[in-house]
Amino acid sequence: MSEHIVSPKIYIFIFASLMLGTGITVWAAFQNFRQYNIVIALAIATIKATLVILYFMHARYSPKRTQLVIVCSIFWLAIMLGLTLSDYDTRPHEMQPGEGRLVQPTPAHFLSV
């Protein structure tokens, strides 16, 4: 069989990288990067997830057909997140400054849009 066997060395290297990523995430959470804390956390999580997909799940060595399915899942997820969030973002709800809660929309909100 022509299947690709990933060597334990690579697995252990990926494992070590994932541990390092976990350490950096925890460290970064205690630093004040203001609004970038969440961006940093998600970026590290995405790098970790990519490593798991490419090596532990063998996506890098899979047939193109399988790789297409993986890319499709990300694409569909992006549609769901992107379109829904842009809808929420452009609705006439307003955040009340400092209160952190949604204000019920009034007819005036809709008229002003």
Binding site: T22, A29, V52, T66, L81, R101
Partner: protein, 243 residues
Amino acid sequence: MHRTGDLYGQFQTLEQQKETASLGMWIFLVTEVLFFGGMFLTYTINRSAYSTAFGIGSNTLDIKLGAGNTVVLIMSSLTMAMAVWSAQVGKKKLVSVFLIATLGLGTVFLGVKAVEYKQKFDHHLVPSRNFDMKYHPTHPMPGDDLKEPALEKKEVEEAFAHDPDINAHGQLYFSLYFGMTGLHALHMIVGAGLLLWLIKGSFAGRFTPQYNTPVEIVGLYWHFVDIVWIYLFPLLYLIDRHR
């Protein structure tokens, strides 16, 4: 069904059979991505609307248990990957060893999760009529570190001044916490069942370099569950930790 050895009649080669099986598993995982994606979407919308309550809710979680569990789960992914490798190179004994290690680590993860859930019940932080963010800071539990309570009274009072409805919005955070980690734990339990089935097969010496598809595709599932946790950990445990 007609089969010759490990090869089922509808396939021409073992390789084709294996690729078909893993493609099928990946398509299932796509539906799982969208399933969990819906919960992440709900989380994102609510977190952006009620950031104070989400921050204070996140700070009640035990970061040591959460980070420890992350390490345990990533280790279980490593042992799962090693089980696949052992099957591919024909080390039959090692397949069993690594599968049992994976099951053991998965069980540790679920045990830690149970401890965390119990704490939330003790601290009145489970969405219900008893939910009260003010309860825990004024009622230390046995075993709590009194010098460093998970949530300080001052913090909670500031949060109440910021968001008077914090008990309502905090329940949203905890509903999502229990919903998302609960769904994840349910996947772990299903995975543990699949591992038991694999361990039984590995004791019978079923997995060889020619035929190890079950180990491979359960591995895909297990790694997927790991990826979900890789996102859950920072999103649930690490909000507003720098304050």
